[in-house]
Symmetry: C2
Subunit: 214 residues, 2 copies
């Protein structure tokens, strides 16, 4: 947001367009999508409404772009890095870490926070977003399933556990303040402990004891 205002010229279309997306994400997050008028977005971007509409086609498409970008972030910052981790428990532990770092980062929070209130999207747009969200849940449940299998935990439904975990992680946007008293590291540590000890029990406790003596 610290970028200098560019002189009007041809050829910097993508620059302005991306700037519009960033600003729209911030304004939508701050005021809520429905409470944000296109004039609000325009003036926050240093444009008039007509000027804004030169870059986008509709308010809804603007929201869709922002939400889709939020899912791109999730893929880049969480899903992709996990592919390199072979041990299920390490993968799950890292997933909690990366997911929290994503949603607690101020710049990303503006985007990812919006993902939970996309009722406004209609038809195909909404189902495209929902499909990507469900894929993420599926991934989480799959990791949890591998972990419980490896440690022989029988009485945990992976899908339900995934819902519990995503609730813990995503709910942070309701209470986390960057300037608050909880550091990100403390949150990560606490949530990892609650969830992993929660599903694994003794297996987790033994492992922690082993790590401590090394």
């Amino acid at each position: 947001m610290g970028e200098k205002r560019q002189k009007r010229s041809s050829g910097n279309g993508d620059f302005t367009r991306n700037r519009v997306f960033e600003i729209a994400a911030e304004v939508f997050h701050r005021k809520g999508y429905d409470n944000t008028s296109m004039s609000d977005v325009a003036s926050a971007a240093g444009l008039t409404k007509a000027g804004l509409y030169h870059h986008i086609s509709s308010k809804e498409s603007l929201l869709y772009t922002v939400l889709d970008y939020g899912l791109d972030l999730t893929e880049a910052y969480v899903i992709k890095p996990l592919e390199d981790i072979s041990d299920p428990l390490d993968r799950l532990k890292t997933m909690i870490d990366l997911h929290l770092r994503l949603v607690l980062e101020e710049r990303n929070l503006e985007v990812t926070g919006l993902l939970h209130e996309c009722k406004t999207l209609s038809g195909s747009d909404r189902s495209r977003i929902n499909r990507r969200k469900k894929e993420y849940i599926r991934m989480a449940a799959s990791i949890i399933g591998e972990v419980t299998k490896k440690y022989n935990v029988k009485d945990v439904n992976p899908k339900l556990a995934a819902y519990a975990l995503l609730g813990m992680l995503n709910w942070t946007y309701q209470w986390y303040k960057v300037s608050g008293s909880n550091t990100r590291e403390e949150i990560v540590r606490t949530f990892q402990r609650i969830f992993l000890q929660g599903i694994l029990g003794n297996a987790w406790i033994d492992r922690q004891a082993k790590v401590a003596t090394h």
Copy 2:
């Protein structure tokens, strides 16, 4: 919702008013507050807009009433019953049970689900709602603190744990379907296990073993 349409008459004011609140909660929940027009609420209640305004003073006050009622429900269905339970662990376990039963009940979901998107409220209304919400968080953290103290758990921050728990519980409104494959009982059992074993570890496992042999 199954109530017969009443003939116009004097003296049934409270009846109609409460009906308006219930219907407004349902419509707000289904379409979102900002996307719901007062004509929508009115026609859902079998009134015209002017007729609706005979019973309420503004759209915002209507939302406030609904949210406040949601917190009344929480107090009646969760907070009050807990006061009779002296053992901290029992109290925490029961709280998870009651909270889930509250938010998974279709009729209440319409009201409690709205509590998470009250950005629209302005000034004193919002702070009044937020105060009651914070009181609930404080209560949860306090119970957790008692439990960890009793079982000598040192490395769990009760406030952070409370946020984790409320995340698990409240996030259900994002995925729970009454007709879905998970029964309420299964959800309650799983969430109790994950959270209680998550913060207590061996103490919880030992206790479960003891209960099983009795």
